[in-house]
């Protein structure tokens, strides 16, 4: 049986936020509620990477475990859905969730958060999928029922964000890792960063050894480049 998963390939994610607005577009999630977000670490430094995160549809979902009204269900595809009619907006799922997925339409005084909202894997609500206006208003569109996959992943600008059956997702990713490993071995990788800093124009930062990461310099210039790794 299919087990739906997301995987965000940080080597590809460019923090373009396409996935974030795709989700807004598809589900008309209100201002302030973001079922998906992109997080960048080491921002502005070598090694900077971004990851797009939403609900990861955990097996043994922590949100489900802590909910005082037990309003989560896991579908047979492994999608974790929650019921907005039952939800009391206590916020416990947000505390427990490893990924900060649960969102609340407000965070007003007297703990008035409104009904929790989170990524549905574009599978609508937990009730019978009917793609009704009511369902849409509460949970957004049900793409899964239409035989489609999450829009955020489908629209990802660099195909960094993968969604779907866990096996398929990991196959795609594995292939990429193999390609990259080949790249790394052939000498393309290894980011270096030096250059202009206003007050320090004349001090060349230590670079020894780095240049030799490159292939030897005496290669014939008009010789064909090394065959690309497949």
């Amino acid at each position: 049986m299919a087990r739906m998963k997301f995987y965000c390939d940080a080597e590809r994610c460019i923090e373009c936020n396409g996935c974030v607005t795709a989700c807004k577009n598809e589900h008309e999630v209100p201002w302030g509620v973001n079922r998906r977000r992109v997080v960048t670490i080491k921002d502005g430094q070598p090694g900077e990477r971004s990851i797009s995160v939403a609900c990861m549809h955990c097996s043994d979902a922590p949100c489900q475990a802590v909910c005082p009204v037990d309003c989560f269900t896991t579908t047979k595809d492994g999608i974790v859905l929650h019921n907005k009619d039952t939800c009391i907006g206590c916020g416990y799922c947000f505390y427990a969730c490893p990924f900060g997925a649960p969102q609340f339409p407000s965070d007003g005084a007297f703990s008035s958060r409104g009904k929790m909202d989170k990524c549905t894997f574009c599978a609508g609500g937990p009730e019978e999928a009917d793609n009704s206006a009511e369902e849409f208003k509460k949970y957004g569109r049900n793409r899964i029922a239409e035989g489609k996959l999450p829009l955020c992943a489908e629209m990802c600008s660099t195909k960094a964000l993968l969604a779907g059956d866990a096996n398929v997702v990991s196959d795609i990713y594995r292939q990429r890792v193999v390609n990259r490993a080949a790249s790394a071995m052939l000498g393309g990788a290894g980011l270096q960063q030096t250059g202009f800093q206003a007050e320090v124009t004349n001090v060349p930062p230590a670079l020894e050894g780095k240049a030799s990461d490159m292939p030897p310099t005496d290669a014939k210039p008009s010789a064909p480049p090394p065959a690309p790794a497949q």
Binding site: T40, I41, A65, C90, Y95, P98, A109, F110, S111, R180
Partner: protein, 314 residues
């Protein structure tokens, strides 16, 4: 293909999980909301374990045991009568203001306890019994009561603590009272205006209550950008102190209602039976006697008819 080639995502995820000392550097997200820059919520699991594996079972055990103890106590000791029987004299023990304050606090407390307990255990009871939809609405109602009663209780508690401080400062005779287990063994334990048990309750309510209140307020007003770590930290304080205070409260409530003849009416009317005072607060009784505060009057009725109560809304 070289086997040793590692997944290029590994460094990243190690950094994300805060392992291996990998620097995450400056972390940013354009989604600007609480904790949006936290990729993996490290404390979530700990909190989940605390709440589900520690808090809920232990709360159930503690509260259950207290209840059991009360029942056992009741069975063993039965109701504590006024041994000398009702006297014709009564003593003014609480002012009207004090009674108002007490009952306001008490009602809010009970509301908070019930609703709090529903939050804790409701999932195992309310939902199975009423179903998700009604159960959810019901729980939502309880939660809302809790959310609004909380701040009111915070105010009430402060007023209560101030109002009742007189007579609740510990003194030497409390030790004796305690040594005698409040009269359970070693014969009559004499006490002042409040005995050590009552004082204990007073101070528990004041101190542990303060923890409950402060932590509750932090959780109740999430609109100051508190992060998850803050919230779970205060939840942890709140829940533990709430269980403690509920456990004590059960004792207090038991003592104040069906445990002891003549007790409830004191808070109800403000007057206590002179004999009751003599038996339970002998030192205070003596003081009152000296001060000539013992009033003559008809014996107080055992049960005040609700209609006739001067404070029907109490």
């Amino acid at each position: 293909m070289d086997e040793s080639v590692k997944n290029p995502g590994i460094d990243l995820w190690n950094a994300v999980r805060g392992r291996e000392g990998t620097e995450t550097g400056q972390v940013r997200s354009q989604v600007d909301s609480v904790d949006s820059t936290t990729l993996v919520n490290m404390n979530g699991q700990a909190w989940q374990q605390y709440r589900m594996d520690t808090l809920i079972p232990n709360a159930a055990i503690v509260l259950g045991l207290v209840l059991l103890a009360i029942v056992v106590f009741r069975l063993v000791r039965g109701k504590i009568p006024i041994r000398a029987g009702r006297s014709t004299h009564k003593i003014k023990r609480f002012s009207t203001f004090q009674r108002y304050v007490h009952w306001t606090t008490a009602i809010l407390f009970v509301a908070l306890s019930i609703t709090g307990v529903v939050l804790l255990f409701g999932r195992y009871v309310v939902i199975p019994v009423f179903g998700a939809e009604i159960g959810g609405t019901l729980t939502w109602l309880f939660k809302s009561i809790h959310d609004y009663a909380g701040p009111a209780f915070a105010v009430a508690l402060v007023v209560l603590v101030v109002t009742f401080i007189k007579g609740n400062l510990p003194n030497l005779s409390d030790l004796k009272w305690l040594a005698k287990g409040g009269g359970l063994f070693g014969g009559h334990a004499s006490a002042g205006r409040y005995n050590a048990g009552e004082k204990g309750w007073y101070w528990t309510a004041a101190i542990v209550g303060a923890f409950v209140v402060v932590s509750g307020l932090v959780m109740d007003f999430p609109n100051f950008g508190q992060g998850r770590d803050t919230m779970t930290y205060y939840h942890w304080i709140h829940s533990i102190s709430a269980v403690i205070v509920m456990a004590f409260a059960m004792g207090h409530i038991y003592m104040g209602t069906i445990a002891m003849e003549g007790a409830f009416e004191v808070m109800q009317t403000g007057y206590c039976d002179a004999n009751w005072a003599k038996e339970h607060h002998d030192e205070w009784y003596a003081e009152m006697q000296q001060a000539g505060e013992i009033e003559e009057g008809s014996p107080l009725p055992r049960q005040v008819n609700a209609e006739a109560s001067p404070h029907p809304n109490v």
